[in-house]
Symmetry: C2
Subunit: 252 residues, 2 copies
């Protein structure tokens, strides 16, 4: 029986999602909780990694329920939450077909990024926002975000992992890149079929540079679909992890 978990977390105390030796990660905490309950090794498969300090409202992971532990899927929610730190919460658990895969079955992901524009960062937003108290032109920011919509070669917005080859595919489709004024700043929302390593933070960083007058809109646009120009034309800034939240992962 394959089960699909919806997980929310405050990323501040963690070195990101992915399991690491001797490290405090969200995947490790989930595996530990499952293993404690199952009294045998159980491992989750997440929809994708999130970096150090990045949050989630709707991270998705699947795991295979060990034989003999089958129960109403909803009962896994309190069972796991009792074993997890309060900064990680399982929101939902449902049964999925045996061929469901949290990573490979995902059809779209939505991330939000919070820009705080108040002169002083509110104490509750510490580690949850990019504090930009200086001039930020929202009209320019929106124009820069518009550049991203569509299918593009996004290699200018990919951090290197070290496993890149000549065949690495940097083409992704972004269907939504919006700016919403909220209390204390702006929320950027990105939806796409998938995102490269640190891509959302690099997209946000470049758009903010444009909105601060540090990057011309023409130069911003030139970062897209221009693999020939690289390695010079890289996104000029990676936005800090704390402002980023993985909000939604969709499946067919």
């Amino acid at each position: 029986m394959r089960l699909k978990l919806t997980i929310a977390y405050d990323g501040r105390p963690y070195y990101g999602w992915a399991t690491q030796p001797n490290s405090q990660t969200i995947e490790d905490k989930l595996n530990e909780a499952l293993t404690t309950i199952a009294k045998q090794d159980v491992k989750v498969q997440g929809s994708g990694r999130t970096d150090t300090g990045v949050h989630a409202d709707g991270q998705i992971a699947h795991f295979d329920c060990p034989v003999g532990l089958e129960m109403n899927p909803h009962n896994w929610v309190p069972a796991l939450n009792t074993k997890l730190p309060k900064t990680i919460r399982v929101i939902d658990c449902v049964e999925v077909p045996a061929d469901f895969h949290a990573r490979f079955s995902a059809t779209s992901k939505t991330y939000s990024y919070f820009l705080a524009t108040t002169p002083v960062l509110h104490p509750m937003l510490n580690g949850r926002a990019w504090h930009l108290p200086r001039l930020l032109d929202p009209a320019t920011l929106e124009q820069a975000l518009q550049h991203y919509i569509g299918t593009h070669d996004f290699r200018a917005f990919a951090a290197l992992r070290g496993n890149e080859t000549a065949k690495t595919n940097y083409t992704r489709t972004i269907t939504e890149a919006t700016l919403t004024p909220v209390d204390g700043g702006y929320l950027i929302s990105f939806t796409g079929d998938g995102f490269l390593y640190k891509m959302v933070r690099l997209l946000t960083g470049a758009a903010v540079q444009a909105a601060q007058g540090r990057l011309r809109l023409d130069d911003h646009l030139s970062l897209l679909d221009q693999p020939a120009k690289l390695p010079n034309g890289k996104s000029p800034f990676c936005a800090p992890g704390g402002g980023l939240t993985l909000t939604l992962v969709k499946y067919d």
Copy 2:
């Protein structure tokens, strides 16, 4: 030169506002920051205490600027924030008349209380909400809040401090007690000319008991203006501190 500070804080790491020996309090942190900058003892006077774990968006305090340290009042904001932990932020600093007093000049205070009603408490609301995943009837909650509006004897909603006398005045005027649906729950907002010790949490606790069907509305109403009935008729519940935020202190 008397200066008025507007202060926001995340109350989770602190034993409340008021200075305590060997304790981690917000007043202590402010006094330490001021004393470091002034190189002499400087103490703030707050508008009133907040309890352990209670937050503030707009706490007010005044202090007298030592001779020789006069500067543009706004320059105190970054000067203090550099010395303060990030969970305490000075939002504003303005000059006030020499007879201004953060506590005695205050004409009204507004507190908000967050009730989280989702089945699982979001990790970001840990220590910031009262989690009430079970049935809570908003119509009854609103009726109970309506009871509080006006001038009443609120002794049923006052925790004992140990310094009460026969002359202690328990009469206060509440001008606003509203319920607003928000993402993940409800926000209660109370405005009044002043609040007794733990009064907002006791008002909230009793109204929630009514909204959960644990207290009849008639019995709820009987808690007001009935000093003769005491000590039996006390508010049946003190809401946890983490849900409470001091949002605004007003002066003429």
